[in-house]
């Protein structure tokens, strides 16, 4: 078997990593489409045509305008008289449109029809217009409400970009109504209150998470109804009924509770219709009742995916007038509700709206007003397409598509959707102009109107399709190529790992090693089993939520198996050695046992520190106990952990092989930083002023600078300083053997020194950054990692290196959850990301946030340098490349390979789960964590690899120079 050369190995590994990064970015951009949303709010400019230049909008000071003034300004600009004065938006959570309108032209089943007699009679009398409103996945309440009010189809990354606040920042009709001075009342699901804080005059929110309650949730809404319907101070009344969704979750579509619930909803509709719309008292104004559902449900009542049953939501418009059109089986998009309502009530269409208006609702309407609403919608969509168009020549809507066939009318364009839509707009605008000129001349015919309306409709449909496709389409090619690239890179990394493993541990003769092999297999099998278990658990949403239990259980099991192995290797006679541990062998076993005891005990303490996950967060844990016990306890634990870290650091530095003044200087500077951190912790931490206080941020910055300088300085200087020191001591006897031994010791010392520097530097930063309660876990984590390295270095060849590095990786992952992290985005500590930053900087605070969240995996990865320094380096290895490959390449491959397995597996699972109910709430956030973990692993390995390479090459270079000088 030809062994790989170092260059070839490096190239292959680098290629695999590059492939992984490429595949990952391809997949992420394919799966989470980034939708360039326009910021800001539509104002009067939306009643003017989009101009040719990109940003012609003159920022008039509109805030100064009184809401009533604004309202009249809008009316004047739009030249449309609003059809209605008041709006009742009744949301029935989870009601499939099928229940009311039937499917495929068929009326709904007689049972359902009987359950809603009043609504059916309204539909039959053409008092109401009903539509199948197609909802875009994810079909869960929050994104659907966003879609209905903004008219835009949200992407998942929106959540990431504003995970800080739940309030809807995008332009929406509720906000527009608020601006023109509407009084609004909200009854029902409290999601509305989170989305629109402070906009409602009166509200009664009900929680939506107690699914078992199907009666009280709706009663809480209806009890206010009689009062609200007779009061005249509001313009918008939102009723959000959750009961039907709960019925579905409990018993599915055909639940016995479904009929009564529908009847209850029908009663509400009847009550509203009779009391406000039918009566039409003059002081209440004209009221429009819109009954919508946010999403449908599957046969078993679940929702979230993109099947017809789930996306088939209802939009029912009940107005005072008989409509001439009966459109019970028309299909619209859910986003069409927003522009329709905006135009009906005379407010600007929200900026990011991708829907187009429902023309039927505007009848009866004068011709020029009809064309005007179409025009307004077209302008808004055109603005949005312009903003999203990839080419920079915004505003020049030249028609670049080729007209295929002039005779076949408007459908004749060829080219991309984008090009076609701009052509269609030009056509429609031209027709509108000609209609206008004819209208002035009073020579307009009905045909002209019809063709203009058709042209506008054509454009609106095309543009809307174009916009919504951009938001929801998952480009299969992109996803597939991304996954293929990641799979390939995973295979390459695993292949390299196996090849190197074979080179480093050549197969022993089977006759002798049967017994030995059996003994060591269990730990190795368990390393693989951990991966298999974690990968399998990723398919279950509840195990993703409670992932910390798995990591802890598997890691503890792994170390208990190592414990058993240690006892196993202690032969019968070792017990007496243990008892009077004077003999070398027994001493070794004793050290191993002690380190494992330290590891498992601190693992258990770490597990109990934060009750992570989702379902059992209310159970008591150590952090809650400490917080209840008061700040004195937290304070003493803080001090204890700082002192612990500093003393561990000093101890670790003091056991270095070479004693010299340099080490003492380094020790002293660490002591200095430690004291600084201690002072910071005592003075500022937990006082609540950390991020804002000037002195605190100054102190934090001082510590940052000091630590960064100390760490980089130590790492860069260590080979030079330590080899020069050797020159003085061992100049006289420079036989080649001694020389190489010397070189070896220098390398080991340098690696050890750098590893210590990295780990303690990182820990000290963490002591500064983490929340006060988390300082103890940091020091426990440090102890664990040191104990693991210590165990492996005293285990001789018993523990293979890849097992050791995997153990470090697992400890890092288990520790990640012990610091209070979960797989939801809610636990990211945003507040502490501004420690030591004077001005708001997204990049810097992002880096600090990363450091806080990934403290534990990063610490484990940095521990690899120290672990490498403990390994036996074969001094006869003449080729520096070979040396590097063996002592550096192999350990670095382990976390890369483990992580790539997790990444690929989870990517595939995410793709399989794309229609799962929890895809946006559980699986996608977890994927973000997996991606950032990948970044963390790549960064950590990069640091380790560059450090070790630098130290070895510098030491070898210096050693050769010394040798030449000596001879």
């Amino acid at each position: 078997m030809a062994s790989l050369t170092c260059t070839k190995f490096t190239l292959l590994a680098a290629a695999a990593i590059l492939l992984q990064i490429t595949g990952l970015s391809l997949f992420v951009f394919g799966f989470f489409p980034i939708r360039p949303a326009l910021s800001g709010v539509s104002g009067p400019e939306s009643f003017q045509p989009p101009s040719a230049s990109c940003d012609s909008f003159k920022d008039k000071n509109l805030t100064a305008l009184h809401p009533d003034q604004l309202k009249s300004l809008y009316q004047e600009l739009s030249s449309i008289t609003p059809s209605y004065d008041r709006l009742i938006l009744m949301v029935i959570d989870g009601l499939p449109a099928e229940f009311v309108l039937g499917r495929d032209g068929q009326p709904p089943p007689i049972v359902l029809k009987d359950a809603m007699p009043y609504t059916q009679s309204l539909l039959a009398n053409r008092m109401a217009l009903g539509y199948h409103a197609k909802a875009a996945p994810p079909t869960v309440t929050l994104p659907r409400l966003k879609a209905m009010t903004t008219g835009s189809i949200g992407g998942f990354l929106d959540v990431l970009f504003n995970f800080n606040t739940q309030a809807l920042l995008e332009d929406n009709i509720i906000g527009q109504f608020f601006k023109i001075g509407w009084k609004m009342v909200m009854l029902g699901d409290e999601t509305w209150l989170k989305l629109f804080p402070g906009l409602f005059t009166r509200h009664d929110g009900v929680g939506s998470f107690f699914v078992k309650d199907t009666v009280q949730v709706d009663h809480n809404v209806s009890r206010h109804l009689s009062y609200e319907l007779y009061s005249s101070d509001w313009n918008l009344l939102i009723l959000h009924y959750l009961g039907l969704d709960h019925v579905g979750h409990l018993g599915g579509r055909s639940s016995i509770l479904m009929g009564p619930k529908l009847r209850e909803m029908d009663e509400v509709i009847k009550m509203i219709h009779l009391s406000t719309i039918h009566a039409q008292e003059s002081d209440h104004g004209r009221t429009l009742l819109v009954v919508v559902s946010d999403h449908g449900m599957q046969r078993n009542g679940n929702h979230g995916g993109s099947s017809y049953e789930e996306t088939d939501s209802l939009a029912l418009f009940i107005g005072p007038r008989n409509s001439h059109a009966s459109a019970t089986d028309d299909t619209i998009n859910q986003v069409d509700i927003a522009p329709t309502l905006a135009l009906l009530f005379g407010v600007p269409i929200p900026k990011n709206n991708a829907g187009y208006l429902i023309v039927d609702l505007f009848h009866p309407i004068e011709d020029h007003q009809l064309l005007r609403v179409l025009e307004l919608n077209s302008w808004q969509l055109l603005r949005l397409t312009q903003a999203q168009s990839t080419d920079s020549t915004c505003g020049s809507f030249s028609c670049r598509a080729v007209k295929k066939d002039y005779s076949s009318g408007h459908n004749g364009y060829e080219g991309s959707l984008e090009e076609i839509s701009s052509c269609l707009y030009l056509d429609a605008a031209a027709l509108h102009r000609s209609w206008k000129s004819k209208h002035v001349l009073r020579s307009v015919s009905n045909d002209d109107l019809m063709s203009t309306v058709l042209a506008y409709n054509e454009f609106l449909r095309t543009a809307s399709k174009q916009l919504s496709h951009r938001a929801t389409d998952k480009p299969i090619g992109l996803l597939a190529s991304g996954i293929m690239a990641m799979l390939l890179s995973c295979a390459m990394l695993l292949g390299l790992l196996f090849k190197l493993d074979k080179e480093i541990y050549p197969r022993r003769e089977p006759s002798l090693s049967d017994l030995q092999n059996y003994k060591f297999q269990l730990a190795e099998v368990l390393v693989v089993a951990v991966m298999v278990v974690i990968v399998l658990s990723m398919g279950s949403s509840s195990l993703v939520e409670e992932e910390q239990y798995l990591w802890h259980f598997m890691t503890s099991t792994f170390f208990l198996v190592l414990l058993r192995k240690t006892i196993q290797s202690a032969k019968g006679g070792d017990l007496s050695n243990l008892l009077n541990s004077s003999m070398g062998n027994g001493n070794r076993t004793c050290i191993q046992l002690c380190s494992i005891a330290v590891i498992v005990i601190s693992l258990r303490v770490l597990r109990g520190w934060h009750q992570g996950g989702v379902n059992w967060t209310h159970l008591p844990d150590i952090s809650k106990l400490l917080e209840m016990a008061g700040s004195t306890w937290i304070r003493s634990f803080q001090l204890l952990s700082v002192v612990l870290v500093i003393s561990l650091c000093l101890y670790a530095l003091s056991v270095l092989w070479s004693k010299s003044y340099v080490i003492i200087v380094i020790e002293l500077s660490y002591l200095c930083v430690g004291v600084l951190v201690l002072q910071y912790v005592i003075k500022y931490q937990g006082s609540g002023v950390e991020a804002s206080d000037n002195d605190a941020s100054l102190a934090a910055r001082l510590i940052y600078t000091f630590l960064v300088m100390l760490t980089t300085g130590t790492v860069i200087a260590s080979p030079w300083v330590l080899s020069f020191q050797n020159t003085h001591t061992n100049l006289q006897d420079s036989t080649s053997n001694v020389q190489s031994m010397d070189l070896l010791l220098v390398i080991k010392d340098c690696l050890y020194l750098s590893g210590t520097t990295y780990m303690f530097g990182w820990c000290l930063v963490q002591l500064l950054l983490q929340q006060p309660v988390n300082l103890m876990p940091i020091s426990l984590l440090l102890m664990q990692i040191l104990a693991t390295i210590y165990y492996a270095s005293h285990g001789g060849a018993d523990v293979k290196q890849w097992v050791e590095i995997s153990a470090l990786y697992y400890l890092g992952m288990a520790g990640h959850f012990s610091l209070g992290n979960t797989n939801t985005l809610a636990t990211i500590d945003v507040a502490r990301a501004f420690i030591g930053i004077s001005s708001h900087s997204t990049v810097l605070s992002g880096i600090i946030m990363f450091a806080i969240t990934y403290a534990s995996p990063m610490l484990a990865l940095l521990g690899m340098v120290m672990s490498i320094s403990m390994k036996d380096i074969n001094p006869r290895e003449a080729n520096i490349g070979q040396l590097l490959k063996m002592i550096l390449g192999f350990p670095c491959l382990v976390p890369l390979a483990l992580n790539s397995v997790l990444l690929v597996a989870y990517t595939i699972i995410l793709l399989l789960m794309r229609n799962h109910l929890f895809i946006w709430t559980v699986f996608s956030p977890k994927y973000i964590y997996v991606v950032v973990t990948t970044v963390c692993v790549l960064l950590g390995v990069l640091v380790v690899a560059s450090t070790v390479t630098y130290i070895i090459s510098a030491a070898v270079f210096l050693g050769r120079r010394q040798y030449k000088q000596g001879s």
Binding site: T557, Q568, D574, V600, G613
Partner: protein, 308 residues
């Protein structure tokens, strides 16, 4: 020279088909006159002394010739494809072989003990594991402990040196030590700590100890080598070893797997500590007993074949 003598005896024994695992038995059979280490291993009048002596004896042995012995024994095994366990040299019969029917009977007695405790719990005390885990576990171990101790003390290894009562006492001691061991292990693996869980953990660990430590303590006493062989290496030789080793490992592994449903959000009461772990352990214990019976049957039949 005692050591030299022992080694030569050992080598002879090896040739006649013994394995190095029974070094101490050979030591015991050396004549008292020519060795200071002549106190038999299992003189339970002075258990500690004999134990220490045996240990030091072995360690001396090891330093010299362990590698050779290992090699030899491995070669022997390769040649013979399976090891002949039957100790024909007489003296202290170190490896007692029970007939499969006896093994079956004793396993059945243990199983019946377990079943009757469940029967008592449901029909007499009307408690069950899910609603009253602590009291049910207490009932189970209270019934199972005497069954196991009385049964396994019959098979005590050092039949001649220690009385039946002594073996029973060892079993009771083993119960306590094992309970501490299991409770520690469970807590390390994530069992909840707290006053409301104290009784459950205590009773659970006593039950686990009944499955694992009690039989071993009754049979082997404080013989480190046997414990090491059974629990660290899981290398049973002879039917008693199988009877102890496999059910104990079954119980531990079953309990480990039984913990798996705990983090799932099914909201069932049986997911609580230690209910599903107990179920897993009991199932594992039963499977282990069945496996040990199968092994013994297979073992005996293969021995018969070899004998022919």
């Amino acid at each position: 020279m005692a050591t030299g003598n022992s080694i030569s005896r050992l080598l002879i024994n090896l040739v006649t088909g013994k394995t190095s695992n029974r070094v101490h038995s050979i030591l015991d059979s050396t004549s008292p006159s020519d060795s200071p280490f002549s106190i038999p291993l299992s003189h339970l009048q002075l258990p500690k002394i004999s134990f220490t002596f045996a240990i030091s004896h072995i360690s001396i042995l090891e330093k010299g010739s362990l590698a050779n012995i290992d090699k030899l024994s491995a070669e022997m095994k390769n040649k013979k494809k399976g090891h002949n366990i039957k100790d024909t040299t007489g003296g202290d019969a170190v490896v007692q072989n029970l007939s499969p029917s006896k093994v079956l009977l004793s396993h059945l007695i243990c199983g019946i003990g377990l079943a009757s405790s469940f029967w008592l719990a449901t029909n007499v005390y009307s408690i069950n594991l899910i609603d009253n885990p602590a009291s049910t576990l207490r009932l189970i171990w209270l019934i199972e402990v005497p069954v196991v101790i009385l049964l396994y003390s019959l098979f005590r290894k050092d039949m001649n040196q220690s009385s039946y009562l002594k073996a029973v006492a060892r079993g009771l001691l083993g119960l306590l030590v094992g309970a501490v061991f299991h409770a520690l292990g469970a807590i390390l693996l994530g069992a909840p700590v707290g006053t409301q869980y104290f009784l459950r953990t205590l009773n659970w660990s006593l039950l686990m100890s009944t499955f694992t430590f009690v039989p071993a303590a009754s049979v082997y006493g404080s013989s480190w080598v046997d414990w090491h062989r059974i629990f660290a290496h899981a290398k049973p030789i002879g039917s008693i070893d199988y009877m102890i080793c496999l059910p104990a490992h079954g119980a531990v592994i079953g309990g480990w797997f039984g913990a798996w449903p705990m983090p799932l959000d099914w909201e069932r009461t049986w997911q609580e500590w230690p209910i599903c772990v107990t179920y897993g352990a009991i199932i594992g214990y039963l499977v282990g007993m069945f496996a040990s019976f199968c092994c013994v049957v297979f073992h005996v039949s293969s021995q018969h074949v070899k004998g022919d």
